[in-house]
């Protein structure tokens, strides 16, 4: 009964604290970008701070036992435990399920938000979401072609857009790309992997995988999927004409690299 009342009253505030401490910590350590688009950073942190003040005030101004007695029909939420006891079969048989569920929610929130290390999405989601499948994650921001042929600032997204736009082999003949991304396998051609990034419009939930194909037979022996690499190479026709990717990068060297601070592209 005591546990039920404690959980009943403080569940919301404690869950809020878990969420906002995780948010502020992610903000301070520069990892919010793993979950949401940078345009929300300021708003998210400000609301977390405001909610933090309110949550602490809720602890400071908690109604006392006497208060509860005083406005017994004034404070609707004091009845909650009882209301649920009534709803869930007169409190005896299944009444314990409610606080148990609440405690489990809190435990799950602590594990997910406070204990698990923050992480980007992985190749599991690439497989789930059809690489380069969403047309206009690519064409939406078709890159402006630089006048002097300086393509060094082009990202995975820019190159993937150009490849997708159907520019022919002539166009790519003299271009050199430097791209950074993580490795995901080509589902159809074992000699090809993709240098992959996720495009995020709002938060990680809507992430769309995009990638540039790289022809490198035996890459499986050198690299694991999900590991981050940087490579520089010119574009060539795919030596395997049956492959779905007609134009590929064929690099001499592939350098392993650390995951960048902003793993997603926008």
């Amino acid at each position: 009964m005591v546990i039920r009342r404690l959980v009943g009253r403080w569940q919301g505030v404690v869950l809020s604290l878990i969420g906002l401490i995780a948010t502020i910590w992610l903000g301070l350590t520069g990892q919010l970008a793993l979950y949401i688009h940078p345009r929300y950073f300021v708003f998210t942190v400000i609301m977390a701070v405001i909610a933090g003040v309110l949550a602490l005030a809720a602890f400071a101004l908690a109604p006392t036992a006497k208060d509860e007695h005083g406005h017994n029909d004034g404070d609707g939420h004091e009845h909650d435990g009882d209301a649920h006891a009534r709803n869930d079969g007169h409190g005896s048989r299944w009444g314990w399920l409610w606080p148990l569920g609440s405690v489990l929610t809190i435990v799950a929130a602590v594990v997910a938000l406070l204990i698990l290390p923050p992480s980007t999405l992985t190749t599991a989601t690439v497989a789930q979401r059809d690489l380069n499948g969403s047309a206009s994650a690519l064409t939406l921001k078709a890159p402006a072609l630089p006048g002097k042929g300086d393509y060094s600032a082009f990202t995975v997204r820019d190159w993937a857009s150009l490849l997708r736009s159907g520019a022919g082999q002539d166009f790519f003949a003299d271009k050199t790309a430097t791209v950074t991304g993580f490795i995901s396998a080509d589902k159809t051609d074992p000699n090809v992997f993709f240098v992959t990034r996720f495009v995020v419009t709002c938060c990680a939930v809507d992430a769309q995988p995009i990638g540039v194909p790289v022809y490198h037979p035996g890459w499986q022996n050198e690299f694991k999927t999900d590991s981050w690499v940087t490579l520089t190479s010119s574009f060539r026709a795919n030596p395997n004409p049956a492959s779905r990717e007609a134009i590929v990068l064929i690099p001499h060297t592939i350098n392993p690299t650390a995951q960048p601070a902003q793993p997603y592209v926008y």
Binding site: Q11, A55, K66, T125, A135, V205
Partner: protein, 352 residues
């Protein structure tokens, strides 16, 4: 901080101990407990392992966690904003300021309420606590539904992002705004005919509505604001966390290729995109950009159905609305809105 006058009146049995002093020391103790919990959580977060590789979780489990966490981190500030607005409406706004100015005629009232979102550019998860606050203040259940369903679509941010994403192409923007407006008012009209609207609400929320709140004075208001914060977070937070977990789980489990494959058929594109909207539970402010990234594969009617259905009904919204409406009501609402959105989408597909 002084004790609110009202409390003194209500508890004469405090007796010889000075109530004011008891109150101050108690709130200091409460604050200390709160700070201790904050410190504990912060220490856990800082000491926890910082590289994902250390735990050796399979990729699918990692992505499930990442997706669920991203729903929480994305929605949390909007839910807090909604709660703050709800507190403002319930406690700080002069009595009747908002509701008394509404027109008398029920139809006109709902029309005006569906435009309220123009003033409150909150995304749909923030609207739930606000709608609860408005019901406590005397809005009818049917009117709250109209507000809840119209506000995320008839909302300046949503309209601007939809216009940026689609412009005037295929009437997507117009269909979304007018369709959302129409469906919200239709739902409101249907439920305004309900003989006992109280039964649409959960027993728990009905009790909240029956609370008589007459504390006067600024100190009393601060106190009530804070209590309302813990009350609303208790209703919203478990729903948000559970909804986020479900959204993450479905994303990992349901392959998106299947949905996308259905996109070019006039009927299936509508149904598939409504299912997608239900599953991804994305904010109405940005869903236009999201669906634009699928744009080429889908027919415009499917996109309209996505943009109309998603802000009203999705996994996360159902969990949040369950705090207020009964399961039966939500089922009816979901079917009704789904039917309307499907009709709208099909009309767009076959109409042009």
């Amino acid at each position: 901080m002084t004790l609110p006058a009202v409390d003194k009146r209500k508890q004469p049995e405090h007796g010889h101990r000075s109530p004011a002093r008891a109150f101050t020391s108690k709130s200091a103790a409460g604050l200390a407990i709160g700070l201790a919990i904050v410190a504990l959580f912060a220490v856990v977060r800082v000491l926890a392992p910082s590289t994902p590789e250390t735990l050796g979780l399979p990729n699918a489990a990692r992505d499930f966690a990442t997706l669920s966490i991203s729903v929480v981190v994305e929605s949390l500030p909007f839910v807090f904003l909604g709660i703050v607005l709800s507190i403002a409406v319930q406690v700080w706004l002069p009595e009747g300021m908002l509701l008394r100015r509404l027109p008398r005629s029920p139809v006109l009232r709902r029309l005006v309420l569906s435009l309220l979102g123009m003033l409150l550019p909150v995304c749909e998860c923030g609207n739930v606590p606000l709608a609860r606050g408005l019901v406590v203040k005397g809005l009818t259940v049917a009117e709250s539904m109209t507000f809840l369903f119209a506000a995320p679509i008839l909302n300046p941010v949503t309209i601007v992002t939809t216009a940026q994403a689609f412009g005037w192409n295929n009437g997507i923007l117009v269909s979304r705004v007018l369709g959302g407006f129409f469906i919200a008012n239709l739902v409101g009209w249907i439920y305004s005919r309900h003989p006992r609207p109280g039964e649409l609400l959960t027993a728990r929320f009905q009790e909240t509505c029956n609370v008589a709140d007459h504390d006067g004075g600024a100190a009393g208001k601060v106190r009530r604001s804070v209590q309302m914060f813990s009350q609303e977070t208790r209703a919203m937070m478990p729903a948000l966390f559970i909804g986020a977990g479900m959204a993450g789980l479905i994303q990992v489990a349901v392959s998106r290729e299947v949905l996308v494959a259905l996109g070019s058929n006039p009927v299936w594109s509508v149904l598939a995109l409504m299912l997608l909207a239900f599953v991804v539970a994305i904010c109405s402010n940005v869903d236009a950009f999201f669906i634009l990234s699928f744009g080429a594969t889908f027919m415009p009617g499917g996109i309209v159905a996505f943009l109309v259905f998603g802000p009203m009904i999705d996994v996360k919204m159902l969990a949040l609305m369950r705090t207020t409406f009964t399961a039966k009501t939500l089922l009816q609402l979901s079917l009704l809105v789904a039917l309307c959105a499907a009709v709208l989408g099909l009309a767009v597909n076959y109409g042009h």
